[in-house]
């Protein structure tokens, strides 16, 4: 698996790829959904520490996974956003949809 996940106490940390575009989004969605099916998750954290680029393809990844996790009562947040990704979150309204740390 290209992306590393850490699971502790029902908390899943999804390490986002270096460049979250349409190409990477396809892999990421598949892996994330497989994992979310296997483990009932109480909280999901999108970790952008290693991510330097994100475009609109990332929005679909995040909103889609948010829906899945919240449907089962879970909590979602995003951490370690750089300036470019902050602006994408701001402009797209993602900031109003999930907590950003």
């Amino acid at each position: 698996m290209e992306h590393i996940y850490e699971k502790e106490y029902g908390c899943l940390i999804l390490k986002m790829p270096a460049e979250l575009d349409h190409h990477e989004a396809e892999f990421l969605k598949e892996e994330a959904d497989q994992l979310l099916l296997k483990y009932p998750v109480r909280s999901l954290v999108f970790d952008f520490a290693d991510t330097c680029f994100m475009d609109s393809s990332g929005i679909g990844v995040i909103i889609g996974r948010c829906k899945n996790v919240r449907f089962s009562g879970g909590y979602v947040k995003a951490i370690h956003l750089n300036d470019q990704i902050q602006r994408i979150f701001q402009l797209s309204g993602l900031k109003k949809i999930l907590e950003v740390e």
């Binding site: 460049e19 575009d21 396809e26 680029f53 679909g60 797209s92």
Partner: protein
């Protein structure tokens, strides 16, 4: 500073693996204008949006080619991204934020909104069955 004039053209297959290549290539070409980190991020994001649209909507993830033409004139960069895919019937509607024809692919309808936010000007020319051309302009170094 001297008046710059430079031009670059490229053609590549409509594969998602070329999205990163396309935005990095345009970013490298624009480097002679000494863009700030933010300006470079703006350009890369806009190019990524336009190229991704050709692949997902223009060619619907089937075979095709994408052309990029970049022109530097003074402090302005002009970037055109062209496909010969299915085209857009109603361009005004397509440009509205949150409008998407592919919600089943989890598209958010923000591509054109980002191009407009990150570039100074965006022009879209499209004809159903013929293809789409998006031309974006930005002045570098306006602060």
């Amino acid at each position: 500073m001297e008046y710059l004039r430079n031009e670059m053209k490229m053609e590549f297959l409509a594969l998602s693996s070329n999205e990163g290549f396309a935005r990095v290539a345009v970013g490298a070409f624009v480097a002679e204008l000494n863009p700030t980190v933010d300006e470079l991020a703006d350009i890369k994001t806009a190019v990524s949006e336009a190229v991704t649209n050709c692949i997902i909507h223009g060619y619907e993830q089937k075979e095709g080619s994408i052309w990029i033409h970049c022109l530097i004139e003074g402090r302005q960069v002009e970037i055109s991204v062209v496909d010969t895919g299915k085209g857009i019937r109603d361009v005004a509607q397509a440009r509205e934020p949150l409008f998407t024809t592919k919600p089943e692919l989890e598209r958010s309808g923000m591509g054109f909104a980002f191009m407009e936010a990150f570039m100074d000007e965006v022009e879209v020319v499209s004809e159903p069955g013929k293809g789409t051309g998006v031309t974006m302009r930005k002045i570098i170094g306006e602060g």
